[in-house]
């Protein structure tokens, strides 16, 4: 899941300042799960914006809408016929959602309400933790499904670094040592042999340096 957090109200207000007719659009998938951009959060933000305008004696019109996914055109299309009645869309999707909505409505201004933060897991209610950096060359198969790129503060493929104490990372005492977890899980799954291997440095060209990455799958594409 993509995680995100709401921007401070002051920043959202400043971006919306010139506009009176605002469509607040949530996304019912990742950001709903991390309680930053789902239907409830749309309601809270819209309510706050309306009250804020009333306090300042401004008249605004705010409509709330939440679509299943903001990063897929078939869902974005639900905004067709609605969006053009507003001056601006305040999107509570992740960065991908904001951009996909903007592309679908070339003449609409689309403003992000969230700061998109990381790919992560819901660890417990109210706690989300990063666990993948989308490196493009997943090595979880060699590291007992614990990502050293993300969860080791030093990103070591050939760990541990020797600095962890009591299973905790020396860089941040609130974070379990990824390599402790890797070793334990390799032991538990009978794959100690994987610890013997020396892993070459990652090929970072798969992750960055050439602009946006693309995945094209002919079997999934339409003819037109």
């Amino acid at each position: 899941m993509i995680t995100a957090e709401r921007k401070p109200m002051a920043e959202i207000k400043a971006m919306l300042a010139p506009y009176r007719k605002i469509l607040v659009v949530g996304c019912g998938t990742c950001v709903a799960e991390c309680a930053s951009g789902g239907e409830k959060e749309v309601g809270l933000l819209a309510s706050a914006l309306r009250m804020d305008a009333q306090i300042e004696g401004r008249t605004i019109e705010v409509r709330e809408m939440t679509i299943d996914r903001q990063c897929v055109y078939e869902f974005i299309d639900k905004l067709t016929g609605v969006a053009d009645r507003y001056e601006v869309i305040l999107s509570l999707g992740c960065g991908a959602g904001v951009q996909a909505v903007a592309e679908a409505f070339p003449k609409m201004l689309v403003i992000p309400a969230l700061n998109t933060t990381f790919i992560g897991e819901t660890k417990e209610p109210g706690l989300w933790v990063e666990n993948c950096r989308a490196c493009g060359d997943c090595k979880l198969g060699y590291f007992a499904a614990v990502c050293p790129v993300t969860r080791c503060a030093k990103g070591l493929y050939n760990g541990p670094c020797g600095g962890s104490k009591n299973g905790v990372c020396e860089v941040d005492p609130d974070t379990p040592c990824a390599w402790q977890l890797i070793v334990e899980r390799l032991e538990n799954t009978g794959r100690n042999d994987l610890l013997e291997a020396i892993y070459p440095p990652a090929d970072w060209s798969r992750q960055q340096g050439k602009g946006p990455r693309k995945i094209a799958r002919e079997d999934q594409r339409s003819e037109s």
Partner: protein
């Protein structure tokens, strides 16, 4: 000045476990104050969502109360502890738009408080008003939480 004299609109969310006869007991006060007061019974205070609190303020409430059981005495164990955090979240959000956080207040029933929800509410109304009429209400034509 007490809250009634100050002319405040009051929304009261409360845990039904506080008063098994809440349905009947709250009627006298509802009759007396008409649209100036609204009760919202909850199966547990843990059912509260910040959105309820914000919508109440947006609909013209000047003060929003959440009345819960004493800490440690929640029928569902930690409902009122969760409610406390959600109240705090809502308070922070309204503070960001310049509304006083104290417009939302959580009350945990104490042993000295009466049993009936209307009597508890009367006690709250008799307290000194911490806020004046909400700028949300004074700048807008709103009907107070129409059902």
């Amino acid at each position: 000045m007490d809250q009634r004299t100050a002319g405040l609109n009051i929304a009261i969310f409360f845990c039904q476990q506080l008063d098994v006869n809440q349905d009947k007991n709250r009627r006298s006060l509802e009759k007396e104050l008409g649209p100036r007061i609204r009760f919202f019974p909850l199966p547990c205070s843990g059912r509260i969502d910040p959105l309820h609190l914000l919508r109440a303020l947006e609909s013209g409430a000047d003060m929003v109360y959440l009345i819960a059981c004493p800490e440690g005495a929640c029928r569902y164990r930690e409902g009122n502890l969760r409610a406390k955090k959600r109240v705090r979240y809502a308070q922070q959000l309204i503070e960001e738009i310049g509304l006083e956080g104290v417009r939302i207040e959580m009350i945990n029933r104490t042993a000295e408080m009466p049993d009936d929800i209307d009597a508890i509410a009367r006690e709250l109304l008799a307290r000194d008003a911490k806020v004046s009429i909400s700028p949300v209400r004074s700048n807008a034509i709103l009907s107070f939480m129409q059902k």
